[in-house]
């Protein structure tokens, strides 16, 4: 018959050492994976991912729907490509925040930004520091009227504005 053994201080100590060993091994694996990964997270970067930049100006879905009728707006989706592929605003461009400058060059965004009346960034939800960070990058480049969609993709999806999927 299996009788539950009382937890001795020694066994508890052993388990705590094991907990530390698991965390240490996982930390080593995580740091190595990050170092050799495709998009390494810059550690201790005050302005990197995970930092909270100043909140950029927001535009509501209602205001966006009105402005689309009267002005030329460029919608830039800064979400991850896989999320963009599942559904995005019709006519929007995908420039993920993690590689924004690379996509900025690749998509030749500079003349496109100059040709429009305003730029609207779409992120996952309203608490989207990635879009705030991209706004902070674009303003010194001279891009005017950059706003972040209030509520992000969640709000856009529920607004009834046109959506398309990447085939």
């Amino acid at each position: 018959m299996n009788r539950p053994a009382a937890a001795s201080p020694d066994s508890l100590k052993t388990d705590l050492f094991r907990v530390l060993a698991i965390v240490a091994a996982s930390a080593a694996l995580g740091i190595c994976n990050n170092y050799f990964g495709r998009h390494p997270v810059p550690l201790f970067a005050a302005d990197g991912p995970g930092a909270l930049p100043e909140r950029a100006e927001r535009i509501s879905t209602t205001a966006l729907a009105d402005e689309i009728k009267n002005r030329i707006l460029l919608i830039v989706d800064v979400r991850a490509p896989e999320n963009y592929a599942q559904g995005h605003a019709t006519g929007s461009l995908n420039a993920p925040a993690s590689d924004f400058l690379l996509h900025y060059k690749h998509l030749n965004l500079a003349p496109k930004f100059e040709a429009v009346d305003g730029v609207v960034l779409i992120c996952d939800d309203d608490q989207c520091p990635a879009a705030d960070r991209v706004t902070k990058m674009l303003i010194p480049m001279g891009v005017k009227n950059v706003r972040v969609l209030h509520g992000g993709w969640d709000a856009y999806r529920q607004s009834g504005l046109p959506i398309e999927k990447t085939p």
């Binding site: 996982s26 991912p49 608490q127």
Partner: protein, 151 residues
């Protein structure tokens, strides 16, 4: 079937389910550090460096803890760690709810868009209860460790 083996199978089932949950949670995040750091920052609890460090290390902690639970190795230590994770997640979710933040949970990385709310909290509570159950029944876990080691 006698009561003891049934109890053992139930225990093993909880252990595997919890391990699989943690493994999947870690696996969906480990290669998306950048996006995961942004998701963590939405909770507005840690400074930038803390978010970056958690984004790099947490997925691997979840993967290794999940694997240890599934294979029944160092079960009690893995269950203690799992209970710590779920407690921390519960604090983060409750803090977000208390401040009225409408954000993505990030429980399964950027793929599964689960908003912080009752569903995320229920999943977290289930994970915490299962982890504590495994910690409390550690003597049975030790028996499983032994049987796993033996064969």
């Amino acid at each position: 079937m006698s009561a003891a083996p049934m109890h053992r199978w139930f225990f093993r089932g909880v252990q595997i389910a919890l391990g699989a949950l943690l493994f999947v949670a870690g696996f969906t995040k480990f290669n998306n550090g950048w996006q995961f750091a942004e998701l963590i920052s939405n909770y507005r609890l840690l400074p930038a460096a803390g978010n970056q460090l958690v984004a790099i290390i947490l997925p691997w902690c979840e993967i290794s803890t999940g694997l240890l639970l599934v294979f029944g190795v160092w079960t009690r230590a893995a269950a203690i760690l799992s209970a710590l994770f779920f407690s921390a997640f519960a604090v983060a979710i409750l803090a977000a709810l208390a401040r009225g933040l409408d954000i993505e949970c990030g429980c399964f990385g950027t793929q599964a868009a689960t908003t912080v709310g009752a569903r995320a909290l229920a999943l977290d509570a289930a994970g915490l209860i299962a982890s504590l159950f495994l910690v409390i029944r550690h003597s049975s876990a030790s028996a499983l460790d032994t049987s796993a080691a033996a064969g």
